[in-house]
Structure formats: structure tokens, C-alpha cells
Symmetry: C2
Subunit: 417 residues, 2 copies
């Protein structure tokens, strides 16, 4: 593929996006049901192509966790198929009237939901993103350009082919989904400059990749960035709940963005909760890095350095700080946190409301684990990811977040005076 | 001001934005009322500073229209003051609950409106933007960095000083508004890279300036771009209404973004409406550039070239094309238009609904002038401008568009299973 071919293909996606924007809910759902069926029917060839990626990963000495992420098996294929069916079952956001009113001139103004148009997904490793993200984009009336990681190119190619087959079976243009069948990164840089054809770029991956896209893109970007989350145990916390929630927030799945990296504990409750929690965490293999005051209670813990407060460990390490007050906890989180998901454990309602109001994060939780900030858990359906920026969409994204709006104005001959 | 000073000042704005985000509606309104009063009280010194800008404009041989745009007088000062009062009277969007539900685990999830944080306005010429934009940002709980055009630096400096005085009178940090008191463009490039401190950049000005910001900014950008608007007269249009609306859309204020640049007319009605409209438009000084079929009806009109369909004239020129069908009109608009504001004049409801649905613009109008797409006319209050992008905010912007959202999650000890 040369530059001109790429441009022509993206123009084809734009044309297909116009058609898709007016398609009925039934037709969109029929694509998703067909897709769900085809995935199961073709699982043999999907597994065969996936094996090529796994073999390449071994040859290229990819990390175990990376190799695991790109591996498909019967269960994961079934989940992809189920995901497409679940998205079909969600309400169609397109044409929803968000608000309406009659202006003083008598014109009737409606603000309605419309598709964004063309979305460019740039992602890494996991082949299920190819199906999940595409299904969400199609259900919300968007065409999509897929540029997955080079590690998974064989898996992604076969899945994209199946998606295009489902489109064509439903009588829709195959060009509504364009798979970039090249591992050459130059195409990414070409795509993110096509701001007259592409409406949104969604980079999903490591911080470095996301920042690189933000730096070079003239297409608007929806970043899925860093998750440096904190859990704060207030002096009025229920001690059992505090230990249970903090433990879950760190240990249940430490590699993901909504896992807790920093535990803040009020000085009045620290002597009562820290020793027990320390035992449980140590047993689970968690290394504690504690401030000087926390070490008075946990003499066995390692001393935390300034750097620990701003490090996303992605693993079994927890920074622990004893704070003097609720205010200090809030300031700490707003200073060192990444604005992702932060939780307070307290029985004091006004402390909880102050924390919910003043912590500037995409999700702020009271008496609940940070791990609960998730589209699925929230009941928004399968998710595109968690946006860490403030404009357009913040936090867990659902179908609504893949839409734009449009004013429909109905008059009887009104002009500007 | 050196780079380090700029960084420190922007950090000061970020700190002030945290305070502003929790301030009561009453306090925010008191800033706006104080500001409205101060503007009237200090009109003498405002006019004196503005005169410096006018004199510099003459010295630098600025165009008459540019000089007019930066000129203040008693009436324009009164309007600025009134604008601030009107914004005080609007409902405060902050803390609005957009939606709420209880998830299957029992956690209660609210999505609420919160301020964006720090907004950087980059604008040209008109000093009233300094007051209008700041008043909207403050009412929506945002801190703001103002980088106005060099032509208006003396006027902007005095107005920014008055705004800071109003903040301090109300007991709020003056740093909630930072005026960049330099015409050196290098500070713009520094600001739009400060993506950890600034939440949104709003460039308002010529297409070239807006594109330059989009190209270099790592801060998310809300573009206020090109307005290439069309009016389509359908075969079932009321002829008198069609002539009145099309005339208004071109002539009432031709220099602005929602004025019509292209008139499309169905072939069946063209012979009946074009001659009369041509006479009226010619009388108003409008030059017609017509397609071959339109010239059969208007032999006096100049022949349009391909370039005319994609030119934003910003003046008294109108491109006219006779089309075979509603579909051709829609395709023309989606091909050549800028997705700003487009109108259909028709008595046929299903033609109108097809047009409203299929034209991909921020506002699509039926039996109404494109000139009506405006925050004030829509009743959204004084506006920040009209966004021409699809993400975050599209079309006329009000206070809601200057906000982000946040999930508030209230649980009873829920963890991730």
C-alpha cells in the first residue's frame, strides 16, 4: 500500500460512514448477530492464524504477559462472539433527542445524537479489541479504521475479514471497516494527519504510544492514559470494610489501570488498620513502601521515596502514607494522582461528600473499590476503555461517548433581524 | 516574562482553578455583577487604552474592518457590561446530575457536570471577547488564560486588570484569570504544549491560525473553523418564503461564518424563483456566480468555476447551482460544505426530514435562515463561538459545553469479584 492508496481507502471509509449514519437499528444489529455467528463458525481458522502470532511472539521473545494478551483460545473466542451479541442488545443511541426547546423567534431547536463519522483505533496486542471496538463503533453508526499492534497482525487480519463479511451479508458497504494490513508505523502518522476525513483517533495502549499520537495528531484524540489511583481510609471508616476494599483495590488485578497504587490512611485509624492489612498484603506478595509515620506502625516496611507517590507500579507494590487530615488526602491525590479513579472509605457522610466533590478524577468512589470503575461493572455494556481526558468523554466510555450531536432547527420562514 | 515565569504563572492558574471549581453560584455571580459595574465605572480609562490600539492600527495601516472590530465606544462598553450581567442570570451548570442509576452490584452511579479546569483562549482583534469569554468560563467554574491579538493588547490589558479586580473583590484568587501581556507568539506555542496544566485550548480566529494551533497543540483543541453554508430551495418550497430566507441568509451580514455562500435550487422551481431573487440580490450589491443551467435562467450572471463551490467568500458573492434532485443537493453540501449550517426551504415534510437527517452539519435548518445558528438566537445566552468539530461540542456553544463530567460512585463496601 502506498500513500495514495491509503488516502483513497480512507476516502472510501468516509463514503461508507455516510451510508452507515442513516442505517436502521435492525440492520446494524443484524451485522452484529451475523458477526457473532461467523466468529464461532470460523474459530478453526481464527485459532490457526492466531497460532502464527503466538509463534512469532516466541521467536521474537515477547514477554509472557504480552504473549498471553495476544493469545486466543476457545473461551476467548466465545467471549468475543458473546460481546458482539451483547452490543446488539444495547439501545441504539443514534437519533436520541438530548434536549429540545422553542426559541423566542418561534424556531424549534432539537439537539440530537449522531455518529461521529470515522473513528481510527490505534491499539496494541489484544485481538479482541478488533471485534469489541468495531462492534461498538458500528452500533453507534460509525465507520472504523483499525490499526492494531504488529504482534497480532495475523489474528487481526482474519477477524477484520470476518467483520467485513458480516457487513456485506447485511447489505452494508465493507468499506465501513478498514484494516490497515501493514506493520509499518508510517501509516499511523499519515492517518492522524487526515483531519478532513477522520473524526476521532482513539489510541489505546502504553503511555508513550498515547503521548506520541497526541503530539503528532491533527485529528482530535481521545486518550486512554495513565491510571495512578488512590484509596483513602478516613478516620471514621468501618475497619473491616476498609481492609477488604483496600486489599481488593490492590490485589484483585494489579496490572490494570484502575488498580490502587497509593494507600492513604488517616493518622487516627492507622494503628488499628495498617498492621492487619500489612499482613494480608504481604501474604499476597505485595511490597509496601511506607512514609516515615507509617513505618512507625509497620517497622518491617521499606521507606517510600518521593518518586513512589507518582509511580504507576502496574504490579504488586503499594505506596502507603499516613495523613493528618481529609484535606491532606485530597491534596495528595490532586497533586500526585492521574485523575483516573480514587476512593474514600468512611462512615462520615460529609467527609465522603467533600472527597467526592473535591477530588478531580474521572470517577470518585465512596466505600467501593477503585477496581469497580469499568464500563461492564457500571452497566454501560462492553467498553471502549476509560478516557483520562476531560473533553468529549471522561471515564468509562459507552456507546453515547462514540457519538456527536447536531442541531435540527424547524422554522416557518424565520430570518435574522 | 521568561519561560519559567510563564510556567509558574500557569501553575498558579491551575491552583486557582481548584478553588474556583468548588465556589458557590452566588459567589461566581457576584464576580460577574462586580465586573459589570466596574466596566461602566472605568469606561473612561478603557476608552483611553483602546485609543492607543486604534492609533497603532492607523499607524500600522490595519484594514478598516479590522480597526472597526477592535474599536470600543460607549455602546460597545455598555454591551460588555450587560453581557456579564446576562451570564450571571443563566443557570449554573456545575453539579447538574446528567444521569444516575444503580448497577447490579448495588453501587449508585451518578454522572455530574464539573468544570473543565483551565481553558486557554487564543483570539484575535475584538476586545469584547476578553470579557465575554472570561465571564462564561468563570460562570462554569473554569480558570482562563487569555492570549488576545496584538492589535488589541492595550484594551485587553485594562479589561483583564478589571476582571482580576472583580475576582479579588469577591474574595476569589486573581490567578483564576491570567492575561498573557506579550505579543510574542512564542508564548502561544509554549502554552499549547502544557497539557498537564491546561485542559482545553479554544482558538477563535482565521482558518490559518486555527489550523496552526491544531497542528502544534498537545492540549485538546476546540476549533472554531470555516463556515461554508448552503441554502437549498426545494421544488415544493413556498416561493415567497424561499426568496426571503435565501436573501436574508446571504445579505443580512455577509462577513460572518453562518452567512450562506452557496444557493442550490431544484430545477423545477428555479425558473420561478431565480429571476426575482437575482434582482433583489443584485440591488444589494451581490455578485452571482452561476452554473451553466442557472445561467440559462440568469444570462447576466457570471459563470461559476469548480472553485466557487468550496470558497467561503465572507462577502457579497453567491454561488448558485441548479440541481436535479434533493439527493443531489444533499450530496453537494456534504461534498463541498464545511459542516457548519445548512438550510432547506420546502413545504414537503418528508423532503425536509430527509435533508435534516442526511446533511452532516452542526446545524441543519428547515424553513429558516442559516444566519439563525447562533447561541444568542438559540437562547443559550452569550456564546463562546460555534464549534466546527464533532467531538466535545458541536455548533453553538453555551455554558454546558465549557464543562466536563465526573462519575460519583456511592457504595457500601463493594469490591471487584
Amino acid at each position: 500500500m502506498n500513500d495514495k492508496e491509503l488516502l483513497n481507502r480512507v476516502k472510501g471509509v468516509k463514503t461508507a460512514s455516510r451510508i452507515l449514519s442513516s442505517v436502521s437499528t435492525e440492520t446494524k444489529n443484524s451485522v452484529l448477530y451475523t458477526l457473532a455467528g461467523l466468529i464461532m463458525k470460523k474459530k478453526g481458522v481464527i485459532l490457526k492464524e492466531n497460532l502464527k502470532d503466538i509463534n512469532n511472539a516466541r521467536k521474537n521473545k515477547l514477554s509472557e504477559s504480552m504473549t498471553d494478551r495476544l493469545t486466543l483460545n476457545e473461551k476467548r473466542i466465545l467471549e468475543m462472539s458473546k460481546g458482539a451479541r451483547e452490543i446488539a442488545a444495547l439501545a441504539d443511541p443514534i437519533s436520541d433527542v438530548i434536549n429540545e426547546h422553542t426559541a423566542s423567534s418561534g424556531i424549534k431547536i432539537q439537539k440530537v445524537r449522531v455518529p461521529l463519522g470515522v473513528i481510527c483505533m490505534i491499539y496494541e496486542a489484544r485481538p479482541n479489541v478488533t471485534v469489541d471496538a468495531t462492534a461498538l463503533c458500528l452500533k453507534s453508526g460509525n465507520a472504523v479504521i483499525l490499526r492494531g499492534g504488529s504482534e497480532a497482525i495475523n489474528s487481526n487480519r482474519i477477524l477484520a475479514g470476518i467483520i467485513r463479511q458480516a457487513l456485506s451479508t447485511a447489505g452494508l458497504p465493507e468499506n465501513a471497516v478498514l484494516f490497515i494490513d501493514s506493520t509499518d508505523r508510517k501509516f499511523i502518522y499519515k492517518l492522524i494527519k487526515m483531519d478532513t476525513l477522520i473524526d476521532l483517533a482513539i489510541p489505546r495502549g502504553g503511555e508513550k504510544m498515547v503521548n506520541e499520537i497526541r503530539k503528532h495528531s491533527t485529528v482530535p484524540v481521545l486518550s486512554h492514559g495513565k491510571g495512578l489511583c488512590a484509596t483513602y481510609i478516613d478516620k471514621s471508616a468501618d475497619k473491616n470494610m476498609a481492609v477488604k476494599v483496600a486489599y481488593n483495590a490492590k490485589v484483585q488485578r494489579p496490572s490494570v489501570c484502575n488498580a490502587t497504587e497509593t494507600l492513604l490512611v488517616h493518622k487516627d485509624i492507622a494503628p488499628e488498620v495498617l498492621p492487619g492489612l500489612y499482613k494480608m498484603l504481604s501474604k499476597a506478595g505485595v511490597e509496601i513502601r511506607a512514609c516515615a509515620n507509617a513505618r512507625k506502625i509497620l517497622p518491617g516496611a521499606r521507606q517510600a521515596s518521593e518518586k513512589d507517590w507518582s509511580t504507576e507500579y502496574h504490579g504488586l507494590i503499594l505506596a502507603v502514607k499516613v495523613v493528618e487530615s481529609l484535606d491532606e488526602a485530597i491534596t495528595h491525590i490532586n497533586t500526585y494522582g492521574s485523575g483516573h479513579s480514587d476512593s474514600i472509605i468512611t462512615g462520615n457522610k460529609s467527609a465522603a461528600e467533600k472527597f467526592l466533590k473535591e477530588v478531580d478524577s474521572s470517577a470518585v468512589l465512596h466505600n467501593a473499590s477503585t477496581r469497580l470503575h469499568d464500563g461492564g461493572v457500571f452497566g454501560l455494556g462492553c467498553e471502549m476503555g476509560i478516557s483520562t481526558q476531560k473533553i468529549h468523554a471522561r471515564g468509562a466510555m459507552g456507546l453515547n461517548e462514540l457519538t456527536s450531536t447536531k442541531y435540527l432547527v424547524r422554522g416557518t420562514g424565520q430570518v435574522r433581524e
